[in-house]
Subunit: 324 residues, 2 copies
Amino acid sequence: MFTSDYLRELTDKAISSLPGTPEAEKLFAPVRYIMSIGGKRLRPVMCLMSCNLFRDKIDEAVMPAVGIEVFHNFTLIHDDIIDRAEMRRGSVTVHSKWGADQAILSGDVMAFVAGECIGHAPEKSLAKAIKLFNKTAIEVCTGQQLDLDFEKKGVVSEEEYLRMIELKTAVLVAASLKLGAIIGDASEKDQDLLYEFGRCLGIAFQIQDDVLDTYGDTKMFGKKTGSDIAANKKTYLLVKALELAGGEKLSRLRGLLGPDNHDPEKKFREVLAIYDELEIRLKAENLAYEYFNKGFQALDNVSVKPERKNELKQLAVNLIGRVK
Amino acid sequence: MFTSDYLRELTDKAISSLPGTPEAEKLFAPVRYIMSIGGKRLRPVMCLMSCNLFRDKIDEAVMPAVGIEVFHNFTLIHDDIIDRAEMRRGSVTVHSKWGADQAILSGDVMAFVAGECIGHAPEKSLAKAIKLFNKTAIEVCTGQQLDLDFEKKGVVSEEEYLRMIELKTAVLVAASLKLGAIIGDASEKDQDLLYEFGRCLGIAFQIQDDVLDTYGDTKMFGKKTGSDIAANKKTYLLVKALELAGGEKLSRLRGLLGPDNHDPEKKFREVLAIYDELEIRLKAENLAYEYFNKGFQALDNVSVKPERKNELKQLAVNLIGRVK
C-alpha cells in the first residue's frame, strides 16, 4: 500500500504539472500561488488511498484527485473574499494580494480546471465521477450559503449546525473517498461505505476544529485561539451553549455576544467560564468521537482485507488526534 | 427541422425545470433571477440546431444545451461584479440586488449546475462533451482576463483585440455548435466545421456589437449608444483608430481619451469625427462581414443536405443583420 507521504508527493508533482496559459499570466499566477502555499493535500491523498484499497495501480486516479484539490482551493479563494479574510495558511489571501476582482476571476477558472481534471477519470467511471463532482460542488456552495445565513440568524439549532458543516466540509471529504473507490472499480456498497466514512470523518474534524479554535495550543494548532469567540462565530460550542444555557446564564452569554463588549480578553475568559459550567467542550468532543467511531465502522465494513485499510486508518487518526 | 422559436421554448421549459435546493433559498434566488430576465437563448438554440442537422430526435442535447446557457449566465453575474455594472438586459444586476458576496456564491453554484447539465450528455459523447465544456470555460475566463488587462494597457493591437473577443465571446458560440454536433454523432470533420462556423460568427457578432454601441439606433438596439466612447472602452473601433491615426489626428484622439475631457456629448461627436475621417465604421463592418462569410463557408461544407441548414443560416443572418 502507498503511504500518505508518497501520495502527497505524487499529488504535488501532478499539481506542479498543471498546464497554465501563457496568454493570461495574470489569471494563473493566483492559481499557482494558492496551490503552492501549503495545505495537507488531505482530500487527494484520501482519494488515492481509497482507490488503492481496491487496486495496486492508481495512476488513473491521480488527475481526478488533483481536481478535488483544485476545487477545494477554489472555494478557499472565494470564501476568503466573502469573509474578508486577510491570511490563509500563514500567507496573505489571494484577494489581499491581487484584489477581489482578480480573485473572483482566478477562482472561477479553477472551477473549470477542477472539472477538467475530474474529466480525466477513465471512461468507464466518467459519468459517475462527473455526477459526483458536480453534486458535491453544489452542496459545498449550499453549505457556504448556510454558514453565511447563520451570521444573520438569531438562533441556530444543533441540527442546522451539523447540516451546515456536513455540506460545507464533510461531503467533499466523502466525495474524495468515493471518487477513489469509483475509479478503483469498487462495488456500489463499498463506494457508499467510503462516502459514509468520509462524511463522518469530515463532521468529526469540523467539530474538533471548533474545539481547537477555543481550546487549542496556538503553537501546535498553528492558528491563534479564540478568534471564533471574538467574532461571535456560530461554532458548535456556541450553538450548543446557547441551546443549553438558561435563565441568568443565557442572559450573561447573550450580553457577552452583544455589541457593548469591548475587552476581548475578558470576553474570551467569561464565555469560556460559561462553556465550562455547561461542559461544552466535553459534549463537543464526545460528539466528534461519536462521528469518528461511526465513520470507522463504515470503513471496517468495506470488503477488502483489514491490512489494506491501515494507511487510511492512520491518516484519519492523525487527522482527528492532532493535538490530543 | 425545428424552428428557433420552438427550440427557444424547449430551452425555456428545461430551464424552468432545473432543480433548486429548498435548503438554501438565498443561493438559488439569484440563479432563477438571472436565468429569467431574458436573453435570447442563442447558445442553447444553436446547440440544438446543430444537433438537429444530424438527427431528428434531439432530446439528449437539451440538458447539455441548457448547461451552456447556465454557464453563460454565470459569467454575466461575475463579469457584472467586476465591471461594477448596475443594469443587465434592462434589469438590475445580481450584485446590485443582492450584494457582491451573494453574487459571487450564486455565480459559483451555477458553474457546477452547468457542469451537471453537461454531464447529462449521452454516455458515448460524455468524455468529449466534458472536455469541450471545461476547455471552453477556461478560455472564456482567459478572454475576460485579457479584456481586464486591456484597461490598463496603453496600446492594444488589432490582433490582440481579435484574440480577446475570440476567447471571451466566440469560443462559447463555437462550443455550443460543436456540442450539438458531438451529441448528434456528427463526424469529427463536421464537428470542427461547426466550431469554425460558430467561432467566426461570434467574432463577427462582437465586432458588430462594437459598431452598434457607437452607431446603433438606441430604440432598435435596446441599449444606449455611445457608452463605449464615454468609458474609453478598447473596442474594435478605438483599437483600429489608434492604429491608423497619425500625427495631429492621433494627438487629438489621445487628448479626447485623456482625463481632462468633461463634456461627454462633445467627446462623442469629436471621437466620431475622427472615426469618420479614418473610415473606421466601414473597416469594422468589412471585417465583420469577412468573418461572417468565412463562417458561412464552413457551414456550407458541413456534410448534410443544404436544406437542413436553413434554420441555422436564418438564425445567423438575423443575428448579424440586427439593425441593418
